[in-house]
Structures are given as structure tokens and as C-alpha cells.
């Protein structure tokens, strides 16, 4: 289980040549995500979604608050937690000089996948994401859709327990998006825990068990899509979000 408690992240930005100011990208965020659950993190650009997911993935450290994964924290168990996790963003860049095969092998080695299993997993993922025809081509020569398939395969190579996906379908065509969404659904069936941020409210409504609305670095509502719609008396998550931020602005 992922347990986030009062997590805040403060940054310093330069106003002009000499002046600096501090601001919170995320402020006192708390929630949990369980195995077999897809949790959607929704909010506009600059809401603090990416920073939050980066902290959960262990790329950044929170300024305050605690992040626990299976009862472990990053300060003491950095490597152990990262072995259970994968992180994918919509603009994840892959090594253009490597082939998908080399990339998958390298990732598997980093995650300490048994040597005898590596080849088997690569061929399984290659079939699953139809990568056979370009498995040994340089990634730099692949199309956007092919590259995104390689990026997802990379996430699955070590069979992680937790998926941290930051706008994974952003900018993709519907076919490539479907590949990602189908993978998310499949992994949920395997009792994996998926944290998923997106701009696309309809997409989130269709796959998320739980939704967290974030605005200006703060959680404005958490609940199932149905519950949120009911509470905000709206028909869809988009309207629900606008009604919540209007209320927030009026308040």
C-alpha cells in the first residue's frame, strides 16, 4: 500500500536577479492507494501532480510529511522501494542509441531480474506490444507510437507492484493511448497498484477506482468518481472539477 501523509514540497524560485521567493508545489497532501486500485490524480497544469508523483517515485524528497510504501520509507529503503515501482511520464525520453532489446535488458539488469528470465520476459513483452519487427532497431528511428510501446514495456520488465504514471497518454493518438489504458486495466486485474495522473477527465472516470482532485498544490477532493459526481451534483468529472474550483475561488 502507498500511504501519503501531509506531504509538502517547497521550491525556491528566482523573481529577478537578486530576489528569491518560496512557494509550495504541494501542500499537506494525504491519501492512500491499495493493491488492485487505480488512483487518478487529476488537476490542471501547475497543480502539483508531477511533483507529487516524482516524490512518490523517489526522484524528489518531500520538504515535510511522510511517504510509505509497504511500510517502508525512502530514507532507509530507497533501493528496495524502487525495485517494486515503475515510473512513466507522457514525455519519458528513452535512449535513442539503444535498441528496445538493449533497453529492456538494461532495465531488467538494474532491477536484478534473474538472468535466465530476462530473455523470456523480453520476448513476452515484445509479443504483447507487437515490438518484434523493431526490437533490434535503434529507438531513435522509431515512430512516437512505437517508442511509447517500448516505454511501457520498460515499465513492465521487472513486474513492478506499483505503477506511477504521470500523464502517460498525453499527446498520444487513440491507438497508442488504448495500448496504455489496456495495460493499466490488465495490471489492475493482477492486483497491482496504479497511481495515474491525467488531464483527460473522461479517461480517468472510465478506469479509476478513486480520484484525487488537486488544485494549486492542495487536495480539493478525494473519492470514487461516482461519489465525487454525487457530492458535486454533476454528471461528469470535468464539471465536478470546475464546480469544486469555483467553490474554492468563491470561498
Amino acid at each position: 500500500m502507498i500511504k501519503i501523509e501531509k506531504v509538502s514540497k517547497k521550491f525556491t524560485k528566482l523573481i529577478d536577479k537578486k530576489k528569491k521567493s518560496e512557494f509550495y508545489a504541494d501542500r499537506e497532501i494525504s491519501f492512500t492507494a491499495k493493491e488492485g486500485e487505480i488512483v487518478g490524480v487529476l488537476g490542471p497544469n501547475g497543480a502539483g501532480k508531477t511533483t507529487l508523483l516524482r516524490m512518490i517515485a523517489g526522484i524528489m524528497a518531500p520538504t515535510s510529511g511522510t511517504i510509505e510504501i509497504d511500510g517502508l520509507n525512502y530514507e532507509d529503503n530507497d533501493i528496495e522501494i524502487k525495485r517494486k515501482m515503475t515510473f512513466l511520464t507522457g514525455n519519458t525520453k528513452l535512449y535513442k542509441d539503444l535498441s528496445p532489446y538493449e533497453l529492456l535488458k538494461m532495465c531488467a539488469e538494474y532491477y536484478r531480474v534473474e538472468k535466465r528470465e530476462i530473455e523470456e520476459r523480453i520476448s513476452l513483452l515484445s509479443r504483447k506490444f507487437a515490438m518484434d519487427s523493431f526490437l533490434y532497431q535503434r529507438i531513435g528511428s522509431l515512430s512516437t507510437g512505437q517508442t511509447q510501446r517500448v516505454a511501457i514495456a520498460r515499465c513492465l520488465i521487472h513486474e513492478p507492484k506499483y505503477y506511477i504514471l504521470d500523464e502517460p497518454t498525453s499527446g498520444l493518438d487513440i491507438i497508442s493511448s488504448k495500448v496504455i489504458l489496456d495495460t493499466i486495466k490488465e495490471e489492475k486485474k493482477k492486483k497491482k497498484c496504479i497511481l495515474y495522473s491525467t488531464h483527460y477527465m473522461e479517461e480517468a472516470a472510465s478506469i479509476c477506482d478513486k480520484v484525487i482532485f488537486i488544485n494549486k498544490g492542495q487536495v480539493i477532493m478525494i473519492g470514487t468518481p461516482e461519489m465525487i459526481k454525487e457530492k458535486t451534483k454533476t454528471d461528469n468529472l470535468r464539471d465536478a472539477f470546475f464546480s469544486l474550483i469555483e467553490g474554492d475561488n468563491n470561498g
Partner: protein, 380 residues
């Protein structure tokens, strides 16, 4: 340890597959034979086509046959009736010096501080000393005195022994300078590519999600840069030895020269160059890591490329390795190489340089590992 090895493999694969990195690593040393052969050709041209210059001097007296014999071929005497005309000729730079003879007193007028004046001065003193001796011998012969008892008590011969020479040392120094240059450029390019380049390409974020410590990440990158530098070193040293062997056997200027390139010298130079590679790689990765883009890192590292000129400057300034200099990185590496080339092997200095290099490398790596743990360096 496994994560470091995986990172090294990943970085080396990237370096080898990147044409620019490969070019920097393998092709820069190709300048070594090109320049060694070219410089040898220029040196040979200089020595074979250098014409003997005639220095014109003024005299107010006629030379005897013996004096003509004693005066160097390089000196061309011009006779003047009047001293004023001779002085005017000196002022007009028609002659470089003049001698005024008054009975048996000879006054040389010359600026011996100038380059040509000092040469002429030596010739004129030699001529007058010789003539003085000749007159003494004539006097003794008149008196029937055995000249050998006065002038030929000892016999000496001047035999040329093959040894070091300016040309020989310069051509070896050039080979070493280009090797140092190639190593430095490789370290600059690969450290830029593996740190700032990785940030710019957006792959660093992916790396940070992998289960590896930041320390392992930076050490893996550092090791890959060092390996690239050592490959360049190996190519550079091999090409240096081959090109020096070639010029030694094909250019007559090196006929009587012994190049100080025996097994021990080569071994010591390689050891020093390895520590230079380790140091300069650490320095480059430390600087490049603060840059956000490839271009920014290259700008920051440009001053490092000037390091490549240090061996030549040290040779020009004739700096010797002593206490304090032994601890200044890069200068100590290049100075000790210069010393080894001319045959001055000081093992205590070599040990000091190796130990101080290890200390600097550890400090640089500790610093950059610490910085890599800060988010500012990764996400600024």
C-alpha cells in the same frame, strides 16, 4: 557494484555509438603522427637550408695573410681609410661592428648584447686571441724555443656523442602534448554528454527511478569517462611511439640523437597519463554536472581545453618540478612528463604526484556525489 557496471556499459555504449564522441576519442590522436612528421620535416628543412650568414665588419687596417686565415669565414671585412666613414657605416647599419687598430692596440666596437653582435664579438675575440698566440709563437721560434713545450703540453679531441637534442625533445614533447590534448578533449566531450547531455535529452529522470544509488550513478558515469580517456591514451601513446620510431629512421636530423623512450620511460609516462586521465575526468564531470544543456556544459568546460597548452608553456618557461609544483594538478603531471622525457626520473616526485592525484580525485568525486544528492543539480 553491479549497478555501477550496468551504468558503465550503458554509458560506453552511448559514447561508442555517438559519432562525435567516437571521433573525439579515437581520431584526435591521429593528429600525433601528422604533427610529429610535419614538425620533423620543418626541423630538417631548417637545418639543411639554413644559409651561413656573413657578418660585415669595418677595419681601419689591412689584414695580413695570417689574419685572413684566422678570421672566421662568416666575417666579411671591409676596409675604410677614415674612421669617421667607418663610424657612419656602423650607424647606417652597413657593418655590424668595427675594429680600430692603433699600432698593436685593437679596439672592437660592437653591441655584444644584440643577437648578431654577440656572435660577431665571439668571432672577433677568437681571431685576435689566435693572432696574439701566432705572434707569440713567431717570437719563440726566433729564439729557437721548442713550441711544443709552451703550447702543446696536452692534446685534446672534441668527439660528438649521440644524446638529447632540442629537436628530439621538442618532437617527443609534441607527441605527449597531443596525447594530453586528446585525453582532455575526450574527457570534456564524454562528461558533457553523460551528464548535461543526459539532462537535456530527458533520460536522467528515468535513470533516477532505477534502483541505484546516486553514488553508483555518478561513479558509473565517471568510470565510463575514464575508460574512454584511457582508450584515447592507449591510441595516443601507440601512435606517438610509432611516429617517433618513423621519424627517427627517416629524418637525418635525428641521426645522432637518442630518444629517451625506453621501456621504463614509456611505463612511467603511461602511469602519469592514467592519473592525469583520472583527474581531468573527475574535474570535467564535476563542472559539467552543473549545466542544464550540452551547450552550457561545453561553454563551462572550454577553459579546461586550454590545459592542453600547458606542457608547451612549461617547456618554454623551463619550469622544473620542485616541492610546491608537485602538488599542483595538471602542471605536476605535465612537468613530470617533461622531466621523464629529458631523462630526469625522480621517483619521489612521481609518488607525490600519484598520491596527490588520488587525494584530488577522491575530493572531486565526494563533492560531485554530494551535489548529485541535491535536487537542484538535477532539476534546476
Amino acid at each position: 557494484m553491479d549497478s555501477i557496471i550496468i551504468t558503465i556499459k550503458k554509458e560506453l555504449r552511448g559514447i561508442i555509438r555517438d559519432k562525435k564522441s567516437l571521433l573525439m576519442m579515437a581520431l584526435t590522436p591521429i593528429f600525433i603522427p601528422t604533427f610529429v612528421i610535419l614538425m620533423s620535416y620543418i626541423f630538417e628543412e631548417m637545418t639543411t637550408t639554413q644559409k651561413i650568414e656573413n657578418y660585415k665588419i669595418g677595419l681601419n687596417y689591412e689584414l695580413t695573410e695570417k689574419e685572413k686565415e684566422l678570421l672566421s669565414n662568416e666575417i666579411e671585412p671591409i676596409y675604410y681609410d677614415k674612421i669617421e666613414l667607418m663610424e657612419q657605416a656602423y650607424k647606417d647599419k652597413e657593418i655590424i661592428a668595427y675594429i680600430i687598430k692603433d699600432e698593436n692596440i685593437y679596439n672592437i666596437y660592437n653591441n655584444s648584447q644584440s643577437e648578431d653582435g654577440s656572435i660577431v664579438n665571439a668571432h672577433l675575440i677568437s681571431y685576435l686571441e689566435g693572432y696574439n698566440t701566432y705572434l707569440g709563437q713567431e717570437y719563440l721560434l726566433d729564439k729557437n724555443i721548442d713550441l711544443s713545450k709552451v703550447y702543446h703540453n696536452i692534446t685534446y679531441y672534441n668527439n660528438e656523442i649521440a644524446g638529447e637534442s632540442v629537436f628530439g625533445n621538442q618532437v617527443i614533447l609534441m607527441a605527449v602534448t597531443f596525447t594530453v590534448m586528446a585525453i582532455t578533449l575526450t574527457a570534456i566531450y564524454t562528461s558533457t554528454d553523460t551528464t548535461a547531455g543526459e539532462k537535456e535529452r530527458g533520460t536522467l529522470e528515468t535513470m533516477l527511478t532505477f534502483p541505484l544509488k546516486r553514488r553508483e550513478l555518478i561513479l558509473g558515469k565517471y568510470a565510463a569517462i575514464v575508460i574512454s580517456g584511457i582508450i584515447t591514451l592507449a591510441i595516443g601513446v601507440t601512435l606517438s611511439i610509432v611516429s617517433l620510431w618513423y621519424v627517427k629512421n627517416n629524418f637525418s636530423i635525428y641521426d645522432s640523437i637518442i630518444f629517451n623512450i625506453n621501456f621504463l620511460n614509456i611505463f612511467l609516462i603511461i602511469i602519469i597519463l592514467i592519473f592525469y586521465t583520472l583527474f581531468v575526468s573527475g574535474l570535467c564531470i564535476s563542472i559539467a554536472s552543473f549545466s542544464k544543456t550540452f551547450k552550457e556544459a561545453q561553454t563551462a568546460l572550454t577553459p579546461i581545453s586550454l590545459i592542453t597548452c600547458i606542457p608547451m608553456f612549461l617547456e618554454m618557461l623551463n619550469i622544473n618540478l620542485h616541492g610546491f609544483i608537485s602538488f599542483i594538478p595538471i602542471i605536476n603531471h605535465t612537468t613530470i612528463i617533461n622531466e621523464i622525457i629529458i631523462g630526469n626520473i625522480d621517483f619521489s616526485s612521481i609518488i607525490i604526484i600519484i598520491l596527490s592525484s588520488i587525494v584530488y580525485i577522491v575530493l572531486l568525486l565526494t563533492y560531485i556525489v554530494k551535489e548529485y544528492n541535491r535536487e537542484k543539480i538535477l532539476f534546476s
